[in-house]
């Protein structure tokens, strides 16, 4: 079943790219639509952060992932590189689980 998601997602995302190559450039001039589409990834990414950090089986959960996210947030605010943020978050959660 995961393969079905892989294939449908791949076909759909390729179609989205190809459509853009096939429409006239005037399409870009719809300013509000463009602004909304450019910002669309932001709430989705923010939602994914919440789901991955606090999501349980239809409940909100506060566990070691939240501590990892707090460390990640501090590092992101300090403009640390991507890999540093990710590794530090994982290490925080792993350490917390090891000592509790």
């Amino acid at each position: 079943m995961i393969w079905l998601a892989v294939l449908l997602g791949s076909v759909g995302c390729f179609a989205l790219k190809l459509v853009g190559w096939s429409v006239p450039p005037q399409w870009l001039e719809r300013e509000r639509l463009q602004r909304a589409a450019v910002l669309l990834p932001l709430p989705l990414l923010a939602a994914l952060v919440m789901v991955q950090a606090f999501g349980g089986d239809r409940t909100l959960v506060l566990d070691a992932r939240a501590a990892g996210l707090a460390v990640a947030l501090a590092l992101v605010l300090a403009r640390a590189p991507f890999l540093v943020v990710v590794v530090a978050a994982a290490a925080t959660a792993a350490l917390l689980r090891a000592v509790t």
Partner: protein, 205 residues
């Protein structure tokens, strides 16, 4: 060079995240080869890993992939690409290639696009494979905190894009929608509902 390092790190994280979410190494690699747009790939495995349906996972990936349509419109007016090469150009239409092509000096946009596209494609797929193989060997993802690495990766991806007021407001609204929705709706749906955060931008000037 900067882009290469970032793509490598991001690809490693994706490979590891995909395996942590329950995908096989082959499925993780297929996503990087075929779907080839990072945030959509992360969303797809994130929703599947959270127990979401295939429909929710694919819908999340498509919503995140819709910005590539805008990139393609932009590139179509900027680059001279004809015939079957358009199919190849379409597959390589992502954040990095659009950024490099639009930032390149006049006359070099096409070269910048193809050079960035081919190198990011190769690097992204190698990094995915390494990340997936690594995570598959490491065993229980929770012990190593790999499940905490995934939200951190999304956050690190989001942060540079929300330094202005409006993008930050939209992102915070999306996060709040997701938090409220998690206990109320099936897995995967909170992410889709968060897209509603951009609706005010469509109705207000």
């Amino acid at each position: 060079m900067g882009i290469g390092l970032a793509v490598g790190a991001y690809g490693l994280s994706f490979g590891a995240a995909a395996v942590t979410a329950g995908l096989t190494t082959a499925q993780a690699s297929a996503l990087s080869l075929l779907l080839f747009t990072g945030a959509s790939q992360f969303a797809l495995v994130g929703v599947l890993g959270a127990g979401g349906t295939i429909v929710a996972a694919v819908a999340g990936a498509l919503l995140l992939g819709s910005r590539n349509t805008l990139y393609a419109v932009r590139l179509g007016s900027l680059l001279e690409v004809r015939g079957p090469r358009r199919l190849l150009a379409a597959q390589l239409t992502i954040d990095e290639t659009t950024g490099m092509a639009t930032a390149a000096p006049a006359g070099l946009a096409t070269t910048a696009f193809w050079a960035t596209g081919v190198s990011v494609y190769v690097l992204w797929n190698l990094a995915t494979l390494l990340g997936a193989l690594g995570a598959a060997r490491l065993g229980d993802p929770a012990v190593l905190g790999l499940d905490a690495a995934v939200p951190a990766a999304f956050l690190a991806l989001l942060a540079p894009q929300v330094r202005a007021r409006r993008p930050l407001a939209v992102a915070v609204a999306g996060a709040l929608i997701a938090l409220v929705a998690i206990p109320l709706v099936p897995p995967g749906v909170p992410v889709l509902l968060a897209a509603l955060a951009v609706v005010p931008l469509l109705v207000r000037p």
